[in-house]
Subunit: 171 residues, 2 copies
Amino acid sequence: MRADAARNREKVLSAARELFAEQGFDVPLDEIAARAGVGPGTVYRHFPTKQALFQAVTEARVRTMIESAAAPADDPGAALFAFLTRMAGEAAAKRDLTDAITLPSELLDDLHRALGGLLHRAQGAGAVRADLTTGDLVALMKGMLRSLHEGANPGVLLEIVLSGLQSSRKP
Amino acid sequence: MRADAARNREKVLSAARELFAEQGFDVPLDEIAARAGVGPGTVYRHFPTKQALFQAVTEARVRTMIESAAAPADDPGAALFAFLTRMAGEAAAKRDLTDAITLPSELLDDLHRALGGLLHRAQGAGAVRADLTTGDLVALMKGMLRSLHEGANPGVLLEIVLSGLQSSRKP
DNA sequence: GACGATACGGAACGCACGCCCCGGTTGGCA
DNA sequence: TGCCAACCGGGGCGTGCGTTCCGTATCGTC
C-alpha cells in the first residue's frame, strides 16, 4: 500500500472512531470523510461499506468484552454484575458500543454465547433468579444501554437492574 | 364534510392504527395510504403532517395513561407498580405507545409530571428507593419498553424492574 | 526526470421517504 | 338532472444518505 493511502486510512479510522463514539452508527458517512479531510470516495477505497468501517472501529472492543465475559471467575454472580457494570460504563462514554451490539452481526452470536455462560454460572451459584433466559438478559442489557443515552443516572440505573436480577419482588 | 371524505378519514385512521401498532412511527406514510386504499394526497388532506396523524392515533391512549397515573390511591407503592405493569402490557401489544412517549411532544410533560407525582408518593410510603429521580424513572421505563420490543419475556422483565425499584442490592 | 500504477476527491446516481400539485372525478344541493 | 365545489389519486419534487464513477493528482520506481 502506498504511503499516502496508509495515512488516509488512519485518518479515516480516527475520524470514524470519534464520530461513531459521539453519535453512533447514524452519523452520515460524508461527515466522517469531511472530519478526516478526505472525500467520500476515499473512504470507500479502504472500506467496502459503511458497516465494514463501523466494524473495523468497534470489533476489537466488542471482542474484548466477549473475552472478559468468558473468563472464569470464582464468584459467578459478581462476575456477571461486573460485566454488566463494565458494559454500562463503556456504553455511557461511547455511543457506538450500543449500536455494535444492537445491529446484526456475527459477533453478536459470540456475545450471546458468552453472556449465556455467564448467566448460567451465576444462576448455578444462586446469585441470579433462575427463570431468566439468555434472551431476556440480552434484551434487558440493550434496554439499559439505551436508557443511558437518554440521560438516566448511570449509577442508579445500574443498581436497579442488578438488584432486580437477584430475586423476585418483596411481597 | 362530504360523506366520502368522512369515510376516507376513518379508513386512514384505521389503517394508521394497525400499522403504527405493528411497526411504530417508522412505517412509511405511503404504506398507510395503501392499506387504507387511498393515495398519499388523501392522507394529507385530513392530517397536515405524519406527526399529526400519529398523534391522532395515540393521543387518547396516552392521555388515559396519564389520568390513571394521576388518580389517587391508598397504596402509593402498588399504584406505581400497577401503572408500570399496565404500561408494559400496553407497549408489548402495540409498538406505537413506546414511540408516543419517546418522540418529543407536549403530552410528554404531562406524563412526566404524573409519573413524578406517582414516584414521590411511592417514595413517601417507603415503597421505592428514595434516591430515584423522575428522570431516572422515565429513562428506566423507556428502556423497559424497548427491551420488550427486543423479545424479552414481559413478565420476567417487569418483575426485575419492579423489584429493582424497591431497594438497593444485597451485599 | 519521466512514466505507469495507484489513490484521490467530489460530482453524480439510486433509493426511500415526507410532502405538494393538478387534472379528473364524485357528491349533494337546486 | 345539471352544476360546482369538494375531494380524490398518484405522479412528482426536495432532501438526505449510501454508494459509485472517472478525470486528475500523486507516489514510487527506472
